[in-house]
């Protein structure tokens, strides 16, 4: 049984113009100890998905799901109190901007230890010992002195390390990390990603890692789910996704980033024309239709999730067969 099982998750937000369907019926699962990357462009619903899983959606948001199960527990019917316990003890979140999660008025020691004391009932001394151990593990020197420091006394990279240590304090089964390295320099990002991957393996923690960066995904994910306009349009084990992307959007994303060796310097990049459709109101047919280089009349009907060999799925009418292309004798690759 997967650790997390999500079926037909929807998140709707009432906005001035009507109902915004931020997450439009997504399915995915996370196995124990695996790193699943949720990747997509801004506004595709990544953060709303993570907040839905954590039970931290904005008050006005409406959530529905056929199934939202964490380790066999139905999250949709859980009381707010039990939800909060679960959040502290078994699911943890790392945000893009650590200062949104760190309280500037409390020392790092207080913030690191609080959850463990509350959820696990350990003594303050034991909690401090674990905090010192974990700060050391995430590469923070003089960990003991750091406990008395305040968040603003640390650099961005150090704060994100503290967030990782904090997420690990209660040994959760699942960590959701929403763009945790997007605001950091590349050298710091590389160090944080390496660390996260190492700890994830060591502690057997499952991680949902949210990013818009396909370079990061390639290097850390076990499996990938690609989101577009509130839907998961493709999911696959990482090597398969890069070797044989099944959805035209995924193919487009992969070919529009300059890649040394593949795109000669100064050459034209393959861009995806057009813009994402509005998520206010219903989306008819395939959401990618207005930008898809191989759209067909069929695409006015909502495409099913097609299965490809090897735990690989793509939401496209033509994921498993060539498009009929009367004007072009060759099929598009």
């Amino acid at each position: 049984m997967p650790l997390l099982n999500v079926n037909n998750l929807r998140v709707d937000l009432p906005v001035e113009a009507g109902m915004l369907h931020a997450v439009r019926g997504i399915d995915f699962h996370v196995e124990r100890g695996e790193m699943l990357c949720l990747v997509g462009e801004s506004g595709c619903g990544k953060s709303m998905t993570s907040l839905a899983l954590m039970g931290l959606l904005p008050r006005k948001a409406r959530l529905s799901a056929d199934r939202l199960e964490f380790d066999g527990t139905d999250l949709t019917t859980l009381s707010e109190r039990r939800r909060s316990d679960l959040r502290g003890a078994r699911m943890a979140m790392i945000f893009q901007e650590p200062m949104t999660a760190l309280n500037p008025a409390y020392t790092l020691g207080n913030q690191l230890c609080e959850g463990l004391i509350r959820h696990r009932g350990v003594s303050r001394r034991e909690a401090r010992e674990r905090a010192i151990y974990l700060l050391g593990r995430v590469g923070i020197s003089a960990a003991k002195d750091r406990l008395d420091q305040y968040p603003h006394q640390l650099s961005g990279g150090l704060r994100q390390r503290v967030m990782i240590a904090m997420a690990l304090m209660c040994e959760p089964d699942l960590i959701i990390a929403d763009e945790p390295t997007t605001a950091l320099d590349v050298t710091i990002q590389a160090q944080i990603l390496r660390l996260l991957r190492e700890l994830q393996r060591e502690f057997g923690t499952a991680v949902i890692f949210i990013t818009h960066d396909l370079g990061v995904v390639a290097r850390i994910a076990d499996r990938v789910a690609v989101m577009y306009a509130g839907e998961v349009i493709e999911s696959a084990p990482t090597p398969a996704l890069y070797a044989a992307p099944g959805h035209p959007y995924t193919r487009g994303l992969l070919s529009c980033i300059p890649t040394p060796g593949r795109t000669p310097p100064g050459s034209r990049l393959q861009a995806i024309p057009g813009v994402v459709p509005s998520l206010v109101g219903d989306v008819e047919g395939c959401a990618f239709r207005n930008r898809c280089p191989q759209a067909q009349p069929t695409c006015e009907r909502t495409p099913p999730l097609m299965s490809l060999p090897g735990d690989h799925r793509a939401r496209c009418h033509y994921a498993d067969r060539p498009v009929p292309a009367p004007r072009q004798p060759e099929t598009m690759s």
């Binding site: 590349v186 991957r197 390639a218 992969l254 529009c256 040394p260 310097p265 100064g266 393959q270």
Partner: protein
């Protein structure tokens, strides 16, 4: 459509084919570069008070660079290393504490705002905050013409329409507000606003960092087209090394306010000589599954720019640091041939 074709707007810019007045301090070497930075420094004073002397922060220290006409110079380095401060000095938005900027061999110091605006224009990172939300696109793009009193209002309107074409915006965008456009379209507006003065040098400070990759590709294509069409010279600041490799002819790598390595694209990407350049390249995560995340071997003791480490400022993080690195600052020196410079004792 050519933004440089005449629409009746007077253009007193010196013609490109005319040799510039020989005010260049360099008479030897290659022809006068479009843009030359000579020992450029900027020092900010932090937290000074009535009875306290503020601390000095050297945001940019002794930067010398030459950008030949029609070339793209990439500028890379970590957050806070001084890239934007350097850009602002080139645009006349910040006064250098020391050193000079030469445009076609002529010092920028003392040039009028109008003269400057006709030579150098910026494109900034954030297409959301850099456009006035209450002005229509036509007003935003045409503003520089108004400010500098160039052309009649009919001529201005014609040039706005022409420039919108050049950057690939539909004519109807002219009457819209920034909020009605997508991020990519807004960045096209920012590019149109920069091009309307027909500059020959464009300073691009992270022009695609706020954009999604699918839109980034459109903007990078546009920047390359414009360069080819109008012979533009770019200083291109970015933290995305793949984008830099795609776009530039030369690269300058900055660390704590100083250039630590500068050379051709081929040399920097194929054979970086400075340990910091190597670390930057190693940190660039290309979409190649199975490679994992490399151990780049840098500590993350990020230096305090107002109290930079003695000797080589990179030494606390450098995997190769020696005793000499803690005492002596390495000079940026030409390496073998004249085309590459590096500041490292061990290079």
């Amino acid at each position: 459509m050519n933004a440089h074709s005449t629409t009746g707007v007077a253009d007193s810019r010196p013609s490109r084919t005319m040799p510039s007045a020989s005010m260049s301090p360099r008479t030897s070497r290659s022809p006068t570069p479009a843009l030359e930075l000579c020992g450029l420094s900027k020092t900010f004073t932090l937290g000074g008070g009535l009875f306290r002397r503020g601390r000095a922060l050297g945001a940019v220290s002794d930067v010398s660079l030459r950008i030949p006409r029609g070339q793209v110079m990439g500028l890379v380095g970590e957050s806070g290393c001084g890239k934007s401060t350097l850009a602002k000095m080139l645009l006349g938005l910040t006064t250098p504490s020391e050193g000079d900027v030469l445009v076609d061999g002529r010092p920028l110091r003392g040039a009028s705002q109008k003269a400057l605006a006709r030579r150098i224009q910026p494109i900034f990172q954030d297409p959301y905050s850099s456009l006035n939300p209450r002005k229509r696109i036509a007003q935003i793009v045409g503003l520089p013409l108004q400010v500098h009193g160039i052309g009649t209002s009919r001529e201005q309107a014609a040039r706005v329409a022409e420039t919108l074409d050049v950057v690939g915006l539909p004519r109807r965008a002219a009457d819209q507000f920034p909020g009605q456009l997508s991020g990519g379209q807004r960045q096209r507006v920012a590019i149109a606003r920069a091009l309307i003065m027909r500059p020959d040098i464009v300073i691009c400070d992270e022009p695609t960092s706020a954009l999604d990759v699918s839109v980034q590709a459109q903007i990078l294509n546009l920047l390359l087209d414009l360069k080819a069409e109008f012979g533009l010279t770019y200083l291109f600041i970015s933290h995305d090394l793949a984008v830099v490799e795609h776009l530039v002819d030369r690269v300058a790598v900055m660390y704590l306010g100083r250039i630590v390595e500068e050379g051709t694209r081929e040399q920097i990407f194929a054979a970086p000589r400075h340990p910091y350049t190597r670390a930057l390249l190693d940190s660039a995560l290309t979409p190649e599954p199975g490679l994992g995340v490399p151990d780049i071997g840098l500590g993350d003791t990020m230096p305090d720019p107002s109290d930079p480490p003695a000797g080589c400022a990179f030494h606390p993080r450098c995997p190769k640091a020696q005793a000499i690195c803690r005492q002596q600052r390495p000079r940026l020196e030409a390496f073998r041939d004249d085309s590459t410079r590096v500041a490292c004792h061990l290079a």
